[in-house]
Symmetry: C2
Subunit: 329 residues, 2 copies
């Protein structure tokens, strides 16, 4: 084990290692391994998360500094949304190369500030350092009432599996940018990857409904995040690929470029939608509540006892590969 390198182990093994080494304090309700931590402070939960984006790895070519600022704020707020939290604020540690222009930094800050304010929150502090690559390490914090907390571990047999918005849009946009395809007609796809939306209001509604049993935000990929939910809740998740909510423009894009649309929806990342499980008798209420916000959610499957993630195919159940954006390996 001594000479094992990081490239030889998956991200999950490293999270397990961190969970083993870092002792959980009594007031910590949820520690390492969920979308965010939940700590008991004065009878409520303080929800805290951190998410780092590093220049070369995380931003597609042509990303503007304003978009970088936008995205790192959304990535952090999306983790709060998955816990059902109301955001309070964000802080950032920013590392920048010495020969970057001051204008770049101003645009980056403007993107961060404008996006935080879109979600009724603000940047309250930071640390600025010199580094070779662009480093944006964010931390977001918020609160929930104790009975409103959403985690990955509450799904129960009989619950429905649902997802907000639609899937595969960001993956389509990423393809366009990476392959330098023409953007014309597909601006919506490109915006999904460069200027994503965090489902903060939706997360609050799910939390308050009292009907939602678990939640996670779709960042790695729907498949990988289904596996996370199944593992944390110790249940089996079965989804019907025909029910995946996919934007017509994504279908058109996939057809034109010979891409499999379900591949984009299942294994593409960074949609920042909320994947959740809901009591079947509570579903109608949740759906109505979301519609009232101008949002939508779609049932894509159901929870049963057992383990693993499966898709319903004409030939029967098939195990869904656990693939996604992985940082190591």
């Amino acid at each position: 084990v001594g000479l094992l390198k990081l490239r030889d182990v998956g991200e999950r093994a490293l999270v397990e290692l961190a969970r083993k080494v870092c002792k959980k304090a009594p007031r910590t309700k949820v520690g390492i391994g969920d979308d965010a931590a939940a700590i008991d402070v004065n009878g409520k939960y303080l929800i805290v998360t951190t998410d780092m984006l590093v220049g070369r790895t995380h931003f597609p070519p042509t990303t503007t500094p304003r978009q970088m600022g936008h995205k790192v704020v959304v990535a952090n707020l999306s983790d709060l949304a998955a816990m059902g939290a109301e955001p309070i604020g964000l802080v950032f540690s920013v590392g920048l190369p010495r020969d970057l222009e001051v204008n770049f930094v101003e645009e980056l800050l403007r993107g961060m500030d404008a996006t935080a304010r879109e979600y009724n929150t603000s940047i309250v502090g930071g640390d600025l350092d010199e580094s070779e690559d662009i480093i944006l390490a964010g931390m977001a914090f918020g609160t929930t009432a104790k009975r409103e907390l959403l985690t990955r571990s509450g799904a129960r047999p009989g619950d429905l599996i649902a997802v907000t918005g639609s899937l595969g849009t960001a993956a389509g946009g990423l393809r366009i940018l990476l392959d330098q395809m023409p953007v014309k007609g597909y601006r919506k796809l490109v915006r999904a990857i460069t200027e994503p939306t965090a489902r903060v209001r939706e997360g609050r509604l799910l939390a308050r409904s009292g009907q939602v049993t678990s939640a996670i935000d779709v960042t790695d990929s729907l498949a990988a995040d289904l596996w996370q939910l199944a593992r944390a809740s110790r249940v089996r998740l079965t989804i019907d690929p025909a029910k995946l909510p996919i934007d017509p423009l994504v279908r058109k894009f996939a057809a034109r470029h010979g891409l499999e649309v379900n591949e984009l929806a299942l294994f593409g990342g960074e949609d920042f939608e909320l994947l959740f499980t809901v009591r079947s008798r509570g579903w109608a209420k949740v759906k109505r509540g979301l519609e009232h916000l101008g949002a939508k959610a779609t049932v894509i499957g159901e929870v049963s006892s057992g383990s693993g993630v499966f898709t319903r195919t004409p030939a029967g159940l098939e195990k869904l590969p656990n693939r996604g954006y992985e940082h190591f390996k």
Copy 2:
């Protein structure tokens, strides 16, 4: 202005830029520009800070992964201490090269966990990414009662200037490591730079005393941090170099290697002591309280109306250069 590069401007100009761009929300009592942010949450202040260490820049050669973990926790807790906060927890975004050994990560985590627990707090979450250099971006959060908050801006003419512990020890240790001098006999100096102490209990005592008017932790250098206090409080600070608390071992080390001991104490960084101003009639009480904790503090000067930082010399007052560890420029 358009083509100005980061290397052409100081860190302070960038902090000013961030303060200008990022709008302060009404519930934010202290925003960008102090040691940490203070936000009004349920009648108390939530104190939040972030501090990032990047491998090549921040760690002297021979630093072990356990020491890296120790130091990034201390750097973050020290910012909370300077606000008088009681720590609640920490989260970390960690970037690591793919060909690092898993053992390295385990040692890093052990250093972080053990150090957090030394201060009765814990690591509650994190994010792990691939990067070229080692990136440790930490965020620490805690609370204070409203009337206990310490900031940089409360110093008043007539107050005394004091500092906990002693100064220049870490700078001596850094010299030893950078110049690869023999460590024997000077282990205390090396430990000050590789395994520093955050003055968390001292900060809580200063906050509760009701006699301390401003505080900052000594990270850049005593000189640079005096300038920060003077600027934030709009006062003049005058110090007596003969009163600087310097460990006898640092004096011996400086004498042996032809170094100016006051240079180490005034312009060396990373002592992580608390520099604070205190009402002159409250000083005896604060000093007794600190002694009760097994800690010490020394009066090094006084606050008057005006601006700038001065040292008392036989020839009269002399302006103290504003020098320290600067990240840009």
